[in-house]
């Protein structure tokens, strides 16, 4: 049984470039959330999508965007990369919305901006 899968696992980009991170949820899960985890901090909420619609957005600049596809997979896009965007990006999937459903996390994508 595959869990949440994220690709790539590691990525190095240069300041100003653009990056796309990908997430495949657990089969049957319709909700995908993205989190940014900077070294030494807890995960910070970026976006949530449910049934292909944005259901929540954290306090991140417009350089961050995301979308969810008909198969419920998701992409996180970051434009005009800054050094401060270096972090572990986590994807989580859940069956539905709300606190009654468990969020399952992927292994994350480690993004380094140089």
């Amino acid at each position: 049984d595959a869990g949440v899968t994220q690709s790539p696992t590691h990525l190095i980009k240069t300041r100003g470039q653009h990056v796309t991170l990908r997430c495949s949820p657990i089969s049957g899960h319709k909700s995908v959330s993205w989190y940014q985890q900077v070294l030494g901090q807890g995960p910070q909420f970026i976006f949530q999508y449910y049934e292909k619609e944005e259901r929540g957005r954290g306090n991140f600049p417009d350089r961050f965007s995301a979308r969810q596809f008909p198969n419920y997979s998701s992409e996180l896009n970051v434009n005009a990369l800054l050094l401060g965007d270096s972090a572990l990006y986590l994807c989580a999937s859940s069956l539905q919305l709300g606190s009654q459903t468990e969020a399952f996390f992927g292994q994350g994508t480690r993004l380094t901006v140089v």
Binding site: G3, V4, S31, S33, Y35, G40, Q41, G42, P43, Q44, F45, Q48, Y50, R55, G56, G58, L90, A92, L97, G98, S99, Q100, E102, A103, F104, F105, G106, Q107, G108
Partner: protein, 111 residues
């Protein structure tokens, strides 16, 4: 605003001793609280949630609304408990679907 505070970044406990990981929250409504754990080289996973009132791997956590706390406890620490522990608040629903995490506590069990 939602906020979760974990005052201890590092905690070392001897095997067999009691463990308490502290978590305080700030939220004006009725909170939903969780503990997540990350073992070495593994992904973040749910340990327990207050609403289910379960004991998982010997851990329990009681919500204290008066003290706005959700401390994680275990009476006798085991070596396999060494991990990173995150307390989290939410999601609340009605458009607020995010989990708000604390900064985490790294628990080390000394043999």
């Amino acid at each position: 605003a939602q906020r979760v505070t974990q005052p201890e970044k590092l905690l070392s406990v001897f095997k067999g001793a009691p463990v308490e990981l502290k978590c305080n929250y700030s939220y004006s409504g009725s909170p939903e609280l969780f503990w997540y754990v990350q073992y070495s080289r593994q992904r973040l996973q749910l340990l327990l949630r207050h609403i289910s009132r379960e004991s998982i791997k010997g851990f329990t956590a009681d919500l204290n609304k008066g003290e706005t706390s959700f401390h994680l406890k275990k009476p006798f620490a085991q070596e396999e408990d060494s991990a990173m522990y995150y307390c989290a608040l939410g999601p609340m629903g009605f458009g607020n679907e995010k989990l708000t995490f604390g900064t985490g506590t790294r628990l080390t069990i000394i043999p």
